[in-house]
């Protein structure tokens, strides 16, 4: 296997980092050595941190002319053999959508960190939002796979950025760290362990770079290795040759792209349960809101109320079977979000139990007291 243990880039110990700094360090720990970006609040600290640290660890950093160019160059670098990343926020993430579809189609491992701010449009640039959930899944044309992760702490900005690179390399897919401004700018204790597990893309000389492989994920060569690669965003056969009118090629390719993620979702999807076993009302939360929710749930448990929480760490692929299972046990499901119900809508797809969305889009985080108030009304 292509897993290996490596020393962390930072000495083991506790740090006091912001979420953005942690994401940058997580990338470096995972082996990211190419970064291209364009300034945007509230994500710019990632780029600035990388600009300093790449000089120490030996990476290539460039500030491009826009987000389209940033993501394009990241894809180019990935095919040149790099673990490559960019970071942005909503407006830049919108500009990147065509490139995300391209990365999915060409099965290019890349990581995009989206520090979500309050939209739509320029919205409130310094304020928190969580409105990019659907954009992360459906922002580019066609059906294509992505993995999106929602970190809730500075520790997870670090750990999940490492995980994002591992997943990108393992499944040859764009992975999006869908963080919120409130996590990106939070400072917390962050622990670095001595050794971490890293997955590096599989290579196999002469193998079809777009063939099915054993598990739907083909090995990936790099430019300059004499493989005479054909990489294209047009529909293509196992060797990358354009086949733009063959229904069989198109059907096989789109199905494989989808299935390589869906069939491996047990391995990809992560979640956490809190007091969910015997709860009548279950909160389904992710990102920063899960911290408010857990605070509220614990306070109410101390009052003897039967409330629980499930935290989605992975947003895409969606935890469909988990939701089915939760829906069969709980009386009510409460879904607080910093958007107009983007995950609540997904939850409704998989269970017909009573689902109560709570949507706050005022540029502020959802306070635990708000959640407690809502839960009291539901009990």
């Amino acid at each position: 296997m292509a897993w290996k243990e490596v020393r962390s880039a930072l000495p083991a110990g506790n740090y006091y980092y912001s979420g953005n700094e942690a994401a940058a360090e997580g990338a470096i720990a995972a082996g990211c050595r190419y970064y291209a970006g364009y300034p945007i609040t509230p994500s710019s600290e990632i780029m600035e941190w990388i600009a300093v640290r790449f000089r120490e660890v030996g990476g290539v950093f460039i500030q491009m002319e826009d987000e389209i160019a940033s993501l394009s160059s990241v894809i180019g670098a990935s095919w040149a053999g790099a673990k490559a990343m960019t970071a942005t926020s909503g407006p830049g993430f919108s500009l990147m959508q065509e490139g995300i579809g391209y990365a999915a189609m060409t099965e290019t491992p890349i990581v995009i960190v989206d520090i979500q701010r309050a939209g739509p449009a320029t919205g409130q640039a310094t304020r928190v939002g969580g409105g990019d959930i659907m954009q992360a899944k459906w922002g580019s044309q066609g059906d294509y796979p992505v993995i999106a992760i929602s970190p809730w702490s500075v520790q997870e900005m670090y750990d999940q950025t490492i995980n994002a690179f591992n997943l990108a390399e393992r499944y040859r897919v764009p992975v999006i760290l869908l963080a919120e401004q409130a996590v990106g700018h939070l400072r917390e204790r962050m622990n670095v362990v001595e050794k971490i597990a890293i997955f590096n893309r599989r290579k196999e000389k002469g193998a079809a770079p777009f063939g099915a492989g054993d598990d739907g994920v083909p090995p990936m060569p790099a430019f300059g290795e004499g493989e005479k690669l054909l990489v294209t965003g047009s529909s293509h056969d196992d060797y990358g040759l354009r086949k733009v009118a063959d229904p069989l090629v198109q059907a096989r390719l789109t199905a494989r792209l989808h299935n390589k993620i869906v069939n491996n979702r047990e391995e990809i999807i992560q979640h956490e349960d809190y007091y969910a076993e015997d709860a009548d009302v279950i909160v389904i939360a992710y990102g920063f809101t899960a911290r408010s929710s857990l605070f509220a749930v614990e306070a109410m448990r101390r009052e003897g109320k039967r409330v629980g929480m499930i935290r989605l760490k992975t947003i895409w692929p969606f935890a469909d079977s988990l939701i089915r299972d939760v829906g069969s046990r709980a009386k009510k499901i409460f879904v607080p979000e910093m958007n107009r119900g983007q995950v609540a809508g997904e939850v409704m797809k998989y269970t017909c139990c009573d689902i109560i969305p709570y949507n706050q889009t005022d540029g502020e985080v959802i306070h635990p007291n708000t959640i407690m108030g809502e839960l009291r009304r539901l009990l």
């Binding site: 460039i62 180019g76 040149a80 790099a82 300059g224």
Partner: protein, 257 residues
């Protein structure tokens, strides 16, 4: 093997170009330049955008090729080249791709003087999508979106890119094969950003709407407009109207003339 042009063509590939398309000629001329320089083609990376011209390297060239998004070839190439400077990186794309949707990447790569050789295949029209006007379409020309003749001024792409800071800038036509091949060689040998605008006529989308019925006629029409830079010297603006001036416009940042 280095130097063998036939080896540089990907075996078993059927060309997608219309019969008579000048891009077919350009496929050969680019490879001839590489062959004459005896570059091991496995050290090269060809990046293209979307359009007819973007098909020149992909799939024809038997090398690493990256066929990207419309307008973004230079940005993709930047990432690959910066991460692996060993890759001799050439971008081949159309006038619409490089100068309209991708115009910003073009001037910024020139400003950075990124070590790329960019071949801008200028047929003065959007060939692939059915002959719409491009930012390189001359005034008065009929296209599917300029039904009364183009009223907008075209870019002088060489001036634009030279002003943005490119190291090497030249314009030649496929009807000047030998000078064009030498120019591509100069571009490849020049460290930094090289830009070669190649006049490569499209008889299907450009020619027919402008009373040029065959490939040969279209080619002749453009060939007749091309003047070498020194021939153009001393001519009046009136005499230069409609002419295409070919030659080198910058070779080495400080020698631009």
């Amino acid at each position: 093997m280095a130097g063998d042009m036939e080896e540089y063509l990907r075996p078993g590939v059927r060309t997608p170009f219309c019969p008579g398309c000048a891009d077919r000629i350009l496929v050969r001329l680019i490879l001839r330049a590489i062959a004459e320089l005896k570059i091991d083609i496995d050290r090269m990376l060809f990046v293209s955008g979307i359009g007819c011209a973007a098909w020149i390297p992909s799939p024809h060239f038997n090398a690493d090729t990256l066929h990207t998004l419309h307008g973004r070839a230079i940005a993709f190439a930047t990432g690959a080249k910066l991460f692996n400077p060993e890759l001799i990186t050439m971008v081949v794309s159309g006038d619409g791709d490089l100068a309209a949707i991708g115009g910003n990447h073009l001037i910024h790569a020139a400003r950075r003087n990124t070590d790329l050789t960019v071949i801008c295949v200028n047929n003065m029209v959007y060939g692939m999508t059915g002959g719409q006007v491009s930012p390189a379409t001359p005034m008065g020309i009929f296209t599917s979106t300029t039904v009364e003749g183009n009223r907008e001024r075209p870019f002088d792409l060489c001036k634009l890119v030279a002003a943005a800071g490119a190291e090497y800038v030249a314009r030649y036509s496929v009807s000047q094969p030998d000078t064009l091949v030498s120019s591509i060689k100069r571009g490849l040998e020049t460290p930094g950003f090289s830009f070669i605008e190649v006049i490569s006529p499209c008889h299907i989308q450009f020619g027919r709407r402008n009373r040029l019925d065959t490939a040969a006629e279209t080619l002749r029409f453009f060939a007749g407009k091309c003047l070498m830079k020194d021939e153009a010297e001393g001519l009046s603006p009136e005499e230069l109207r409609d002419k295409i001036i070919t030659g080198e416009f910058s070779n080495g940042r400080n020698q631009a003339d």
